[in-house]
């Protein structure tokens, strides 16, 4: 567990045990109980505090209930008059009021802490929600556009600006930061900050239609230099040298219906319906978590993505076998 949340210390052992249990054998992480970001760590601490308060009050209620049930077995049990108004006022009003006011106060403190990062963010990321994928922009370096994958530098806050191109979505990276919704006609803002390099899985948290289940996003936190290099390379148009097969693949892309919906910067493909594919070769998945990004799945996706992610906007593409090979070879070269 992290060292930055002293509130948990008294219950450290139980937390470690519970966390081991809860982690199971997960290979990816999307858990609020494995917080790595400043915001999520705060909430993790708050959760354990609320959990133990609840357990204490629950024990109190169960004791009274158990006592009442046990008492009936005694021969001397009598029906008592009186209204117990004093006891109810103390246990049902006064004590809860103290606990609730304290919890509310702590909650306000955390809400305040979540409102803005400790220092002014240097990096801004724009996130645009689509049914069912994430468009990611880095407005400070023109052209740096990608999809379903966000890179952030470690050790500093990052401003995240959220809007939606269609219905409501919600941006939630459980290990880094609580949710903020993407609302039509409104720009919302949140921030991320983590000290730990790594990849964090995220997923749309507001029901947004048929493929709400497959609207995942990967957040990659890396040292500032690696981050800068990644942004610079993402901003580059696709100008790498191509093999003959890849050349033909590029022609297929530009001349078929691909180009009417997708952009590959540096080519004549400037469609704006689907994700920008300038760096498709380096992404962690296709279809926002619907399938791994390898030649087999990518080929299947192009031929008929409806079998992989039913209802998504891309119609089946009648591509000749050789064209498909070339196309795949080209797309995989785009890093």
């Amino acid at each position: 567990m992290g060292q930055s949340h002293p509130r948990q210390r008294p219950w450290r052992l139980s937390i470690v045990l519970l966390s081991l249990l809860l982690a199971g054998c997960a290979r990816q992480q999307q858990s609020t109980l494995h917080a790595s970001g400043a915001g999520a760590q705060r909430i993790e601490g708050l959760w354990w505090l609320l959990f133990w308060i609840s357990m204490a009050v629950f024990a109190e209620v169960m004791l009274i209930l158990g006592w009442a049930l046990w008492r009936r077995r005694r021969a001397t049990a009598r029906i008592k008059g009186g209204d117990a108004i004093g006891a109810i006022t103390v246990l049902g009003v006064a004590v809860p009021l103290v606990i609730l006011v304290a919890a509310y106060g702590l909650g306000l403190r955390d809400l305040n802490a979540l409102a803005a990062p400790g220092q002014k963010p240097d990096v801004t990321v724009e996130v645009i929600g689509h049914q069912w994928w994430w468009e990611i922009h880095y407005p400070d370096s023109a052209g740096a556009v990608t999809a379903n994958e966000m890179h952030i530098p470690v050790g500093e806050p990052v401003r995240v600006r959220l809007r939606t191109a269609d219905v409501q979505h919600s941006f939630w990276v459980p290990q880094l930061m609580p949710k903020t919704d993407l609302i039509a006609g409104k720009v919302n803002e949140t921030w991320l900050q983590t000290d730990r390099a790594g990849t964090y899985r995220a997923q749309c948290a507001e029901y947004c239609g048929k493929q709400h289940a497959f609207m995942a996003l990967r957040v990659v936190a890396e040292p500032r230099t690696a981050f800068d290099a990644w942004v610079a390379s993402t901003a580059q148009p696709a100008t790498g040298t191509l093999t003959a097969a890849q050349q033909r693949g590029r022609q297929v892309f530009e001349q078929s219906s691909c180009a009417s919906c997708h952009t590959i910067r540096g080519t004549s493909a400037v469609g704006e319906v689907g994700p920008d594919l300038t760096t498709i070769g380096s992404r962690w998945s296709i279809g926002a978590g619907a399938a791994p990004n390898d030649a087999g799945h990518l080929g299947g996706w192009i031929v008929n993505s409806q079998t992989i992610k039913p209802g998504n906007a891309m119609p089946p593409q009648p591509v000749a076998a050789q064209d498909l090979q070339d196309l795949l070879s080209y797309l995989q070269s785009l890093k």
Partner: protein, 639 residues
């Protein structure tokens, strides 16, 4: 005259009076009377049976959902089917099951508990039932043809608006809920008027049973909360059908407007569902603790407080929408505070148990199950009131766990307690104790096995409303346990159903007062006669059946003759005189059919058909309201 003959004479005249009342109030069993009945007990039972059928349908939806989620990457359901099922599960459980089921309890019990012969407006009551039944049938019919609403039970725009949702699905939602709202509003008004005007003489406000207080509090919430939902649904329908722009930001509309309107209704609705259940707990406990619920004034205060504060907490459903922090802190404070009146009730019930002598029967077991689960749901409720924590776990399985603890634990457990407790009155039969205990343990274990793991899957980051999930996020085990629990729960609920059916067919005939209960329904026969009470009860305390003055007077007071019911003053329950009650009629059914025609016409875009329905409504309502012919004396006819 000797004492003996005097008593004989009284019992003969009483027998004659009963036969006379039977003639006045009894509805001959015929097909026509099945459609024309205005007896609050028949209507109440009908509400309960219909809501029970909708519960089975919506519960089946849930079982299919849980089957799909048992394993990762399952393909039991297509995404479209999943979306329709979870939407119908939520919509039906909230609108077509919980509230109508409690309205059924209220219909059957409120007149009995206050010593009245019927609801204040018996025909309005019948009308409310038919409207409810028709709207439920319309909504479930849409599921049968694969066109059910699929936007979630709170139907957030823009997803539910054009162009993101074409087809008839969401029109069924908006029109169906508007249709149902007519029934709920009519029922709520009827409960309020009945309680205010029809209480037995002597039942001043401080002697009204807590269950009736709960129904009245609920009714007031319905009347103030439903308009917001109705307005939202009218706007949604106009947006979808006629291209209005209420929720379209590109034309100056606002998508958050829907959320505000929906939750201004939606949060009071949580209490609209739970409060009658809390009333049932307060009604059941005295019989099994052998003393009244302690701190009656605090209990009433708690009911009234919840009814009011519940209107000031709706924004806690919108803590992630990016509203100003200051408004969050207000709504967070209100949402935190609303737990206090619930806490008062919990401790009052606990102290009732402590100060009484407990008799353990199945209704009592379900009350204990309720306390355990509802308290747990209350804790997570406080957590959701804390904005920062809410933002982390809202829209995850943690919130699914929370509201099932509150709504199943808080409403369904007391409902089942109430079914067992009042089965003698509903059916005239006793249930089998052993079978019902099996049912309790299976329901209790199944419930917790289903919903406890959802807290964990939610904390592990699983969002709600996803039709499947990858296998490598650590969610499989918890989902599998939930599904196993759901099947255990289903078996338990099936045993409850079997127990009720068994009681109806083979149950031991129930005595009039099997539990030694404290309220007036136990003064009637099991099941009650059509006129409920031969004489008008006289009430001297909160527990009239434990009060000799009331029970003695019930045996000796002269009968109230004819098709009449007593009215009393609003606050003190002072006798104001008997009024003639309406007879059975087909008009409520025909009026409801007229609305059905309007709804279907508008739904399908056959506006001439809707117009015909409107004419039918106008005609029947005119007939309904037509003043009765006056007697020659009243009309001033010279003899």
């Amino acid at each position: 005259m000797s004492v003996e003959t005097e008593e004989q004479a009284r019992s003969i005249s009483r027998g004659e009076a009963e036969a006379e009342l039977e003639k006045e109030w009894g509805e001959r069993p015929s097909l026509r009377s099945w459609f024309s009945t205005v007896d609050h007990k028949r209507i109440g039972r009908r509400y309960m049976v219909t809501a029970g059928i909708f519960f089975i349908l919506a519960g089946t939806d849930a079982m299919i959902l849980r089957t799909q989620l048992a394993r990762p990457n399952a393909t039991v359901l297509s995404p479209e089917a999943y979306d329709q099922l979870f939407t119908m599960h939520g919509t039906a459980m909230i609108f077509l099951f919980s509230t109508p089921m409690f309205f059924g309890f209220g219909n059957f019990l409120v007149p009995l508990l206050i010593g009245a012969r019927d609801m204040a407006f018996p025909r309005l009551n019948a009308f409310g039932y038919w409207v409810f039944a028709f709207s439920g049938i319309v909504m479930f019919a849409s599921q049968m043809v694969g066109r059910a609403p699929d936007g979630g039970w709170f139907g957030y725009v823009p997803l539910t608006d054009t162009p993101y949702s074409s087809g008839i699905n969401l029109d069924v939602y908006s029109l169906g809920l508007l249709f149902l709202g007519v029934s709920t509003t009519a029922g709520a008004i009827n409960f309020i008027v009945t309680t205010v005007k029809m209480r037995a003489p002597g039942m001043s406000l401080n002697r009204v049973p807590l269950f009736v207080w709960a129904i009245v509090g609920t009714s007031f919430m319905v009347i103030f909360a439903l308009p917001a939902l109705n307005v939202a649904n009218v706007m949604l329908f106009l947006d979808r059908r006629f291209g209005a722009h209420f929720f379209d930001p590109a034309h100056g509309g606002s998508t958050l407007l829907w959320q505000h309107l929906f939750w201004i209704f939606g949060h009071p609705d949580v209490y609209i569902i739970v409060m009658p259940a809390l009333g049932i707990v307060s009604a059941v406990l005295p019989a099994f603790c052998r003393r009244g619920v302690v701190a009656y004034p605090l209990m009433v205060l708690a009911i009234v407080t919840i009814s009011i504060i519940s209107f000031g907490v709706w924004v806690h459903h919108m803590f992630a929408t990016g509203l100003p922090q200051l408004s969050y802190s207000f709504f967070s404070a209100a949402s935190t505070l609303i737990t206090i009146p619930s806490g008062i009730q919990i401790f009052a019930w606990l102290f009732t148990m402590l100060r009484g002598r407990i008799v353990v029967r199945t209704p009592f077991l379900f009350v204990v199950g309720f306390i355990v689960t509802f308290v747990l749901g209350g804790f997570t409720g406080v957590m959701f009131a804390i904005t920062a924590f809410d933002q982390q776990v809202t829209d995850s399985y943690f919130v699914v766990a929370h509201f099932h603890y509150v709504l199943f634990g808080g409403a369904v457990f007391p409902m089942i307690a109430g079914i067992y407790y009042w089965l003698p009155k509903f059916t005239g039969r006793m249930y089998a104790e052993k079978l019902s205990r099996w049912a309790f343990w299976l329901v209790f274990i199944g419930f917790n096995t289903t919903f406890m793991p959802m807290h964990v899957s939610g904390l592990l980051g699983m969002p709600r409303r996803i039709y499947t999930y990858p296998g490598d996020l650590g969610w499989d085990l918890w989902n599998f346990i939930s599904t196993v629990g759901a099947y255990i729960l289903a078996v338990g609920l099936l045993l409850v159903l079997i127990g009720v059916l068994h009681a109806i067919r083979r149950g031991r005939p129930a005595p009039d007062d099997p539990w030694g209960g404290d309220t007036l329904e136990w003064a009637t026969t099991s099941p009650p006669r059509p006129y409920n009470f031969v004489t008008v009860p006289k009430v001297h305390s909160v527990h009239p059946m434990w009060d000799e003055r009331t029970t003695a007077a019930l045996a000796t007071d002269p009968p109230l003759p004819d098709h009449q019911a007593m009215t009393t003053s609003e606050l003190d329950g002072r006798e104001e005189g008997a009024v003639e009650m309406p007879e059975e009629s087909l008009l409520p059914l025909v009026t409801a059919l007229g609305i059905l025609v309007v709804v279907l016409g508008v739904l399908w875009g056959w506006y001439w058909f809707a117009g015909a329905g409107a004419l039918l409504i106008f005609g029947t309502v005119a007939r309904w309201m037509w003043p009765p012919e006056r007697s020659p004396e009243e009309a001033g006819v010279a003899s």
